[in-house]
């Protein structure tokens, strides 16, 4: 317990440094685990798990669709937590955590939407229906798209990290309310769909459940790996910029 902090300030700075260093040392492990578990999941999905009786092959997209949606929520929860910590601690590492989680989360939101639409075509007979979950995922996609746009187009003199943190917090707080309102909206107006498929997950046979759990784990690892990779890139870029400033100063000093 050499690193045990003596004050809250020290605790947070230790946590900052330690979290980042733990992430760096775990990075290759997480990377290889992600690749390995994805290979296992593909083997399970295509060779092991039995074909679903009614839907047939299209049902297999389920094993990538559900994990993408789960990672989407997890990523935006990371954005939320890191944004709060950034506003509280004002340490750039929390800002980098939030930014990178938002980017990767946006990617997985896109994946969840795309796989959902591809699945919808053979099963519902249409790429898009105003189903409650599809609709709220689309709204989420726009919220975090806006978050990334603010990041990209902030004026140079503005404090981007603070603006983004505030949007990250408000956006996440809105998620349950949006979901509830969209759910009410759809239940009050039942929609005519070509074919209604029961909620997947309920009464899932054991083999499908195992495959789903494995794919949840694998996709979460892929997310974690991409996220850490981005955090490392951003942190390295930040250090490089700092070094350039220092070198510049030294050159001027020697002149």
């Amino acid at each position: 317990m050499k690193w045990w902090p003596r004050s809250w300030g020290q605790f947070w700075s230790t946590l900052d440094g330690r979290t980042y260093h733990m992430m760096l040392s775990a990075r290759p492990w997480i990377g290889w685990l992600a690749v390995g578990s994805m290979v296992v999941v593909f083997a399970l999905v295509f060779w092991w798990v039995p074909l679903e009786a009614i839907q047939g092959y299209p049902q297999k997209i389920f094993y990538i669709h559900v994990p993408s949606a789960w990672v989407m929520y997890a990523a935006f929860a990371v954005v939320f937590g890191a944004s709060i910590l950034y506003l509280w601690k004002r340490s750039s590492l929390w800002d980098i955590f939030a930014r990178c989680a938002a980017e990767v989360g946006f990617l997985f939101t896109t994946l969840a939407l795309a796989t959902g639409m591809l699945w919808g075509k053979p099963i519902w007979g249409t790429y898009w229906t105003w189903d409650a979950r599809l609709t709220s995922t689309l709204i989420l996609w726009f919220i975090y798209g806006g978050y990334l746009l603010v990041r990209a187009f902030a004026r140079p003199e503005a404090d981007v990290a603070r603006l983004a943190a505030v949007i990250g917090i408000i956006g996440f707080l809105d998620v349950p309310i949006i979901h509830l309102s969209v759910l009410w909206w759809r239940t009050l107006h039942p929609q005519p769909v070509v074919m209604i498929v029961d909620d997947p997950g309920g009464g899932l046979p054991a083999s499908m459940l195992i495959t789903l759990l494995a794919s949840l784990l694998a996709v979460t690892l892929v997310f974690a790996w991409l996220w850490i990779q981005r955090v490392w890139q951003e942190r390295t870029a930040e250090n490089l910029a700092l070094l350039e400033v220092l070198l510049d100063r030294r050159e001027r000093g020697s002149r």
Partner: protein, 224 residues
């Protein structure tokens, strides 16, 4: 102290707007035009009109607000008025409360013109539930103005400016739009008071949550 500062900012905004009614008057006309253009989206029968009416009302308000919030905030940027407000010993929360109240009143003013016209154009008969409609309008407008004022300040910090405001504002306002449109629809169809009260309480919850969060978080946006 906080309340007096908020009231002073509200008073200043109202006085400015009353001298030159350009923004509110232009936006009222704009909102009515949007509601009108909506009719051209199809070839609606009277039944279609009654079904579309409440939604069209809220979409027009949404568009009008997206233009208005940016302008009401931009007037503080002229002549460094905002810097003046920031160096004055005023709580940031009071500053937000003043701007929020102003935006709410402006939007309600626009609704005074927009609502009767829309009700007529869409052949909606709400004479029996005017109080419920007014209540819904006030609650939804308060929530929308809170988000609008807040994100106008955020968008002003980006080079995309007012282009970015609707992109940030519309997705986050979805619960409010649905509450307004569906709550209004429940009133139009009559006898669905249970649905009306559910949507109204959703909007009230939204106002409480985001009114508080935006007021508290405003200082992080406005700080230089």
């Amino acid at each position: 102290m906080g309340w007096r500062a908020a009231a002073a900012i509200l008073g200043k905004d109202l006085k400015l707007e009353l001298r030159r009614v350009e923004t509110v008057a232009t936006m009222a006309v704009f909102a009515i035009l949007v509601a009108l253009v909506f009719v051209f989206a199809g070839d609606p029968t009277p039944a279609d009109l009654r079904r579309l009416g409440p939604g069209a009302l809220w979409v027009s308000l949404l568009f009008a607000g997206a233009i208005g919030f940016g302008r009401w905030f931009a007037q503080e940027e002229r002549n460094q008025a905002l810097q003046g407000l920031l160096v004055s010993p005023v709580d940031r929360a009071a500053l937000f409360a003043g701007k929020w109240a102003g935006a709410t009143i402006f939007l309600l003013g626009i609704e005074c013109a927009l609502v009767p016209v829309t009700l007529t154009m869409y052949q909606l008969d709400l004479a029996g539930s005017l109080i419920e409609l007014a209540l819904l309008l006030v609650v939804v407008t308060m929530g929308y103005s809170a988000l609008g004022t807040f994100f106008a300040a955020v968008a002003a910090k980006t080079s995309a400016g007012e282009l970015l405001l609707p992109i940030l504002l519309f997705p986050l306002s979805v619960p409010l739009i649905l509450a307004g449109a569906e709550g209004g629809q429940a009133l139009v169809e009559g006898g669905r008071m249970g649905d009306y009260w559910s949507w109204l309480s959703l909007a009230v919850a939204f106002d409480v949550i985001f009114g508080t969060v935006c007021t508290l978080a405003f200082e992080y946006v406005i700080e230089e």
